[in-house]
């Protein structure tokens, strides 16, 4: 009984219930929604957000925020796109280390600004959001990287599969989630990130090198955004200086917060974040299916996020009070 209750009280349970309720409701109108085919559509919508969400989760747990990850995604994708355009003979897999290192470099920039100048990360990354986006325009002459430039093998990663007909990029996204889980839960770095976010004043008293951990967190977030950048090129087959990664940070923050990560630091799980991403994926997949015009999709998307947060809060509030009543 207590085991059942403690499972039900977990954040993850509430999101699972919301996902099922939402899918069932949509399925009543459009039975087509409840098929393997649409599961595939949903899963293909989420890999980039999943990777971004892992990055953002680590940053939020450390009691920071990174608003620039969309711009880092865009810049890294553009660097890779330009590379493919200027050096058409280069081996296509080289794009991965290039994208990841580019992202890591920009993330390190955020981290340095936050640690050296002791600026709030929300301000720093608001600045680099514009800065990195602007640099994307400069290096690309504001021109798009076209489909013909992106290597076929890279584009194929979004369609072909090594196993169970699951495309590569979905596997990569879940692989990133698994790695994030291992880092968060089973490495000193992970525990130090949680400790830092839980009590920043106490962290140095317990031997945590706050600057180092902060730098690593932002660099990691940048590297993951860079990875998301090359996968963007794979998924959509182009890189556009103004569109690629624009608004990405907000989708990601929404997914992470729905997944139960506290913006006050110290709290958050990978499983919750994955579920938050999946819930958003379901909503994104369902809206066009329900015939909701593109012009209203953004508003509905936003409303769903708020509703999810409100439901979660009230459910857990009730759960906690009933639990404490039972205990007393």
């Amino acid at each position: 009984m207590t085991l059942v209750r403690s499972i039900l009280l977990r954040r993850e349970a509430g999101i699972v219930v919301m996902i099922f309720a939402f899918c069932l409701a949509v399925g009543l109108y459009k039975p087509h929604f409840l098929t393997v085919q649409s599961l595939r559509i949903i899963l293909l919508l989420v890999p980039l957000i999943m990777i971004g969400a892992m990055a953002q989760m680590l940053v939020l747990v450390a009691r920071h925020v990174d608003l620039s990850i969309g711009s880092i995604l865009g810049f890294s994708a553009m660097v890779v796109g330009l590379m493919y355009r200027e050096f058409p003979d280069i081996y296509w897999l080289v794009g991965f280390p290039v994208a990841i290192l580019t992202g890591a470099f920009l993330g390190l920039g955020n981290g340095l600004l936050v640690t050296i100048f002791r600026l709030p990360s929300i301000i720093v990354t608001l600045g680099t959001l514009s800065l990195y986006r602007g640099l994307t325009f400069i290096i690309s002459d504001a021109r798009q990287i076209n489909r013909s430039v992106i290597p076929t093998e890279l584009k194929a990663m979004s369609r072909t599969s090594p196993i169970f007909d699951i495309p590569w990029i979905i596997l990569i996204a879940f692989g990133v989630a698994l790695m994030t889980y291992v880092v968060a839960r089973h490495t000193q770095l992970g525990r130090q990130i949680y400790a830092l976010g839980s009590n920043p004043e106490a962290a140095p008293l317990r031997g945590i090198d706050v600057a180092k951990v902060t730098l690593v967190v932002f660099t990691l977030a940048g590297a993951l955004s860079g990875l998301a950048g090359i996968l963007y090129a794979s998924r959509w087959g182009f890189v556009n200086p103004s569109n690629t990664g624009a608004g990405f940070e907000f989708q990601v923050i929404a997914a992470v917060v729905i997944g139960g990560v506290s913006i006050n630091g110290g709290v958050g799980t990978v499983s919750g974040t994955v579920l938050g991403v999946l819930l958003l994926g379901c909503v994104s997949a369902a809206l066009p299916l329900l015939g909701i015009p593109g012009s209203t999709q953004n508003a509905i998307y936003g409303a769903v996020i708020l509703i999810a947060l409100l439901i979660d809060r009230s459910v857990r509030q009730r759960g906690v009070t009933s639990l404490s009543r039972a205990a007393s």
Binding site: Q188, S198, A202, P204, G266
Partner: protein, 503 residues
């Protein structure tokens, strides 16, 4: 026990300055292995600073430390931990979102950032240390929500985990219930039997007698005396704790005492203060003395409606008063200058003039809109009256010195033309010159027929300013001493808790 006790810590000439103020000067202290050593002194005597130097939180300006005969440099808390020194704060520092087990071992594991967290070992170790203390807690639960007593147990378990030879407990018993205190003492005695040394900082002489082997008394940042606890009486301890020389200031003239302005009877808020009764007359300055945590600020906050009392009566000018919010209090002619200036007193980023007129919106906006010229005029006069030193009325108040900020807060309240002023540690942290001005000002206010309740931890301040002094200890008024009879000794006698207080 017969042979010469071995020395664990030898501190020589330890001094510490904060911003040019010497809070600790040339402290020598020896600690034996396997003793419980009490550290006593008034508020601000330097006990906690000394403890923090041992634990690496602060670095001494001068002086040397020897541990087991060899010189050590305690550069930071982790270095202290490695040397086997642990400091347990009154309200323990913890990571509320991490598990109890992690809190116990945090800072102990080495290894690089990507090295594995040995969960099974962490949990087993944490259980083992808590078992040693006889505490049963589920170590996988998060720290958040543990009682203070259990948080302290976790901290003690932490010190065992790093095999600390010196455990410093800074006022550990203040937030505990009597039963929890018993548990803590039994554990402390067990640790002593294992040969560990404990520094026990407390205000409660009775507890010190129950637990400690030797006692060291600090006063004004200096080491005064170290003795075996059985060789010294409570009275002597108290004498050694005070003995501060009276500063020269004396109140110029005593105002004429008028009608009763405020009558407080049987005011209680369980957990903070009990059964507080007194009367305050116009023109009178009543001092409220006692140690930090005695409940003085709680009484002030209750009188002003910040955290109202649960039971009891307040009569203002002979009429029963219901004070539930600060607005009620202001309407009744009360004003409250709080102790925590930065937290509760000023609007740091706003200009001096906005700060000054904040409590009297009606005065500067007769038509409903704020009149800038009126605001300026009123502020200018207030600044002149209290000679607040500033560059411009538009300056953010945070740029003023502490003393001038405090004057500005007082000026703000004077604009409400209060009959009753409650001043909570009004001169804390302000320099001596401004202090003297403040004393004159408080005297003048009384002369104008206002009633003043002055909370102060500085005995000379109470002795020189007040007509009567009430002393609080553990939430109760333990003495009421008229000006003529008041001495530092009898105030401290009443302030130091000695008899066990039934909870």
């Amino acid at each position: 026990m017969k042979r010469e006790p071995s020395m664990l810590v030898e501190a020589r000439g330890i001094s510490k300055q904060f911003g040019g103020v010497e809070v600790l000067s040339d402290v020598d202290l020896d600690l034996h292995a396997g003793e419980i050593h009490a550290l006593l002194g008034e508020n601000g005597a330097g006990k906690s600073t000394f403890a923090k130097i041992l634990a690496g939180v602060h670095r001494p300006t001068r002086g040397t430390l020897k541990l087991n005969g060899s010189k050590v440099d305690v550069t930071n808390p982790i270095a202290a931990q490695k040397l086997g020194i642990a400091l347990i704060h009154q309200e323990p520092i913890s990571f509320p979102d991490l598990s109890i087990a992690e809190n116990i071992v945090m800072g102990r594991q080495g290894g690089g950032l990507l090295s594995r967290v040995p969960w099974a070992k962490i949990i087993a170790d944490a259980r083992q240390y808590l078992d040693m203390l006889g505490v049963s807690l589920d170590v996988t639960l998060p720290m958040r929500g543990l009682s203070i007593a259990n948080q302290q147990m976790v901290e003690i378990a932490r010190s065992l985990a790093s095999d600390s030879k010196l455990i410093i407990m800074d006022e550990p018993t203040a937030p505990l219930t009597p039963r929890e205190v018993d548990t803590l003492f039994n554990i402390a005695r067990r640790l002593r039997e294992e040969g560990r040394t404990i520094i026990f900082i407390s205000h409660r002489l009775e507890e010190v007698r129950m637990l400690c082997d030797r006692v060291t008394i600090f006063r004004d940042g200096a080491h005064i005396s170290t003795q075996k606890i059985d060789d010294i009486s409570d009275e002597d301890i108290i004498k050694l704790m005070i003995g501060r020389t009276l500063k020269k200031f004396m109140r110029k003239h005593v105002a004429e005492i008028g009608d009763i302005a405020m009558e407080v009877s049987e005011l209680s808020r369980p957990g903070a203060f009990e059964d507080v009764s007194f009367t305050l007359r116009r023109g009178e300055i009543i001092g409220l003395g006692g140690l930090v945590g005695a409940g003085r600020t709680d009484v002030a906050r209750a009188l002003f409606g910040v955290e109202p009392a649960i039971s009891g009566h307040i009569r203002i000018n002979g009429v029963d008063a219901m004070i539930h919010t600060p607005t009620d209090a202001i309407d009744l002619g009360l004003a409250f200058v709080p102790e925590d200036r930065a937290g509760h007193g000023i609007f740091a980023t706003l200009s001096v003039e906005h700060n000054l007129t904040a409590a009297v919106p009606g005065k500067i906006a007769p038509s409903g809109f704020i009149s800038r010229s009126l605001e300026r005029e009123i502020s200018r006069k207030a600044v002149d009256d209290l000679s607040i030193r500033l560059a411009s009325l538009r300056q953010p108040i945070a740029e003023l010195s502490g003393g001038n900020q405090q004057k500005a807060i007082l000026a703000r309240w004077l604009l409400t033309e209060p009959d009753i002023l409650i001043l909570d540690e009004p001169t804390r942290g302000i320099d001596i010159g401004v202090k003297a001005e403040f004393y004159d000002m408080i005297g003048d206010l009384a002369e104008q027929g206002r009633a003043i309740l002055l909370i102060s931890s500085e005995l000379p301040e109470l002795l020189s300013l007040c007509d009567r002094i009430l002393v609080m200890s553990e939430g109760r008024i333990t003495a009421e001493i008229p000006r003529e009879e008041a001495t530092q000794e009898n105030i401290m006698q009443a302030a130091v808790p000695r008899k066990g207080v039934a909870a």
